[in-house]
């Protein structure tokens, strides 16, 4: 049962990976990698159930955190070309 679920998740990951390779703009790639990360969370969780070791869920939780932070960091880098950029509002105040 869990192996069928894992197979479906892997198919979705393959589709997201294809879009990450094809993506005409960098934003398409970021979107595809975000989806890929979401499916990885599920894959790790289901794998834990498949091998009867649900402790894997800690890793899935950690992956969810890193996925979000990573997406936001990459988006900020491509918007401002600098991860230490203070952002739009502060930049305006500084003139």
């Amino acid at each position: 049962m869990f192996s069928v679920t894992m197979l479906g998740i892997l198919v979705t990951m393959a589709l997201a990976f294809a879009r990450a390779l094809m993506g005409p703009t960098v934003y398409d790639r970021i979107l595809a990698v975000n989806t890929f990360g979401t499916m990885t969370i599920l894959l790790v969780a289901v794998f834990g159930f498949l091998t009867d070791r649900p402790d894997f869920l800690d890793i899935a939780l950690l992956y969810a955190l890193i996925n979000f932070i990573g997406t936001i960091a990459v988006l900020k880098f491509f918007e401002y070309r600098d991860l230490g950029h203070p952002g739009q509002q502060n930049a305006d105040e500084e003139g």
């Binding site: 049962m1 869990f2 069928v4 679920t5 479906g8 998740i9 198919v11 979705t12 990951m13 393959a14 589709l15 997201a16 294809a18 879009r19 094809m22 703009t25 960098v26 934003y27 398409d28 970021i30 979107l31 595809a32 975000n34 989806t35 979401t38 499916m39 969370i41 599920l42 969780a45 289901v46 159930f49 649900p54 869920l57 800690d58 899935a60 939780l61 969810a64 955190l65 996925n67 979000f68 997406t71 936001i72 988006l75 491509f78 918007e79």
Partner: protein, 160 residues
Amino acid sequence: MELAADILSWPFLISGVLFSIVGGIGLIRLPDLYSRMHAAGIVDTIGIALISIGLIIQAGASIVTVKLIIIVVFVFITSPTSTHALAKAALHGAVRPAVPRRRSETEQAKRGEDEAKRNEDEAKPSEEKAERSEDETKRSEDETKPSPDEATEAKDKTPS
């Protein structure tokens, strides 16, 4: 008990996987970034929710269930946030939607406005004409193309 849990969790797991695959196909097939974000939303919401519900039924009441709920709540909060940030960044990065606005629609709306204004001007002298001009406005909105004959007709009707 085991069998009951299996029977209950099967539909959730399978439908969650099906929704995820549909989202993945949408990610490949849809025409531009903004519609692809819509497809990715399927995976991030109903896909992860249904699969997690299936796993929760399998796990029963334990710390595993709590962890799964934490994962789902976290993804439900972060997924819209990152999608919003992505859309904003893409707009700033000058990515335009691939599907253009329908030209005839915008033209029609503009013409409708102009015609309504003209009819308003014409209709001031009497109420009878106001009614007629209302009809004209309605008709002109329904039409796709204005024929020149109609325009002259409208002019002929106005008493000078």
